[in-house]
């Protein structure tokens, strides 16, 4: 018993399950708010099962409840989903998926699965992190969406349970192990600053894309000039097992 348990409960799966629970519970809030925004039960369930990217789903119902048109809801949700394309590239580079697995992996390529996977040191742990967080969030998010849709607005405020605090801690916990040398710390502080400045100036979903663009630009510039230093620095260690 203890040996099977320790095989299965690795740091990556524990991390994946924790983040799946914290995020999945938010589904209650989504389900309740979606019904309040005027969607029916099937539309609400379809958004969680098919769209399955929380930010886009909240944007879609948010536009509708604010009196916006369905086409505007479509645009807001799609814009917010652009970051998942960036995540797909990261996961492909990091996990080396087989082509047959790609359609399934794509559907669970979201903030949580990407972050959990990229937070791991070894290739097998990155796989376990991706699938545990991805499938864990998928199952719980859909389950709790249905519950929220049926129970209504009484259950709708995730802040009352401290889930918004849990989300902050969850993402910080994933970032933390990477802040071991000067350059990633500078990158993290700069990224946080860029995001904070971009939030009031752009529509939701765009700040993270602006931040990603700045990070890529910075990496391309520093990568050209300091290649020998970065290849042997802390920054590359997490990617060493990829071959």
């Amino acid at each position: 018993m203890p040996s099977t348990k320790s095989n299965w409960l690795t740091p990556a799966t524990k991390m994946g399950l924790s983040i799946a629970l914290a995020t999945g519970l938010y589904g209650i809030s989504f389900g309740a708010l979606s019904i309040a925004a005027g969607l029916n039960l099937w539309q609400t369930v379809a958004l969680s099962a098919l769209m399955f990217t929380g930010g886009s789903q909240f944007a879609f119902i948010g536009v509708l409840s604010g009196g916006g048109a369905a086409s505007a809801a479509f645009s807001a949700a799609t814009l917010l989903g652009v970051r998942n394309a960036v995540y797909g590239m990261q996961i492909k580079q990091s996990l080396r998926p087989s082509p047959r697995a790609v359609p399934f992996m794509a559907q669970v390529t979201i903030d949580e699965s990407t972050a959990t996977s990229l937070g791991q040191a070894s290739l097998s742990e990155r796989h376990r992190g991706f699938w545990t967080a991805g499938l864990g969030v998928y199952v719980l998010w859909n389950l709790f969406t249905l519950m929220g849709a049926l129970l209504g607005e009484r259950m709708g405020d995730p802040a009352a349970w401290g889930l918004d605090g849990a989300a902050v801690a969850a993402f910080l916990g994933l970032l933390w192990p990477r802040l071991k040398s000067a350059q990633p710390i500078v990158v993290a502080c700069a990224a946080a600053t860029v995001t904070a400045f971009a939030v009031p100036l752009t529509v939701p979903g765009v700040p993270i894309l602006i931040t990603a663009g700045c990070a890529v630009l910075f990496a391309v510039l520093t990568g050209r000039h300091t290649k020998p230093a970065t290849e042997h620095g802390q920054l590359q260690q997490v990617d060493q097992e990829k071959t």
Binding site: T53, G173, L174
Partner: protein, 105 residues
């Protein structure tokens, strides 16, 4: 089916198309030394951005509320090398405690 349902299904299809499009970037491009440097930098930047979005934003507004307390509590837990689940729980408890005591919204 209503017009809204068609837009909804279209948005779902667009979301999947975006997710899978990243996987179509050729491996050759992703494997260059420059790209692994870009990927490592991008990961840190994306995580820091997600922390910021979850800690201090609400829609298009910057807001200081109980989530800042959660961020501080989680930082302390991480400094003391707490396990991941403990860090997440500390974040949730800090937010609940700050709201219950009326110290933060």
């Amino acid at each position: 089916m209503s017009e809204l349902s068609w837009w909804l299904l279209g948005a779902c299809a667009a979301a999947f198309a975006l997710k899978i499009s990243g996987y179509f970037v050729p491996r050759r491009v992703l494997d260059s030394p420059l790209m692994s440097h870009v990927a490592a930098t991008l990961t840190v930047a994306l995580l820091a951005s997600l922390v910021t979005m979850n800690a201090v934003t609400s829609g298009q507004e910057l807001i200081i509320d109980a989530r800042i307390g959660a961020l501080a509590a989680a930082t302390i837990a991480l400094i003391f090398k707490a396990p991941y689940l403990v860090v997440v729980l500390v974040g949730a408890l800090a937010a609940v405690a700050l709201r219950a005591t009326g110290l933060a919204a």
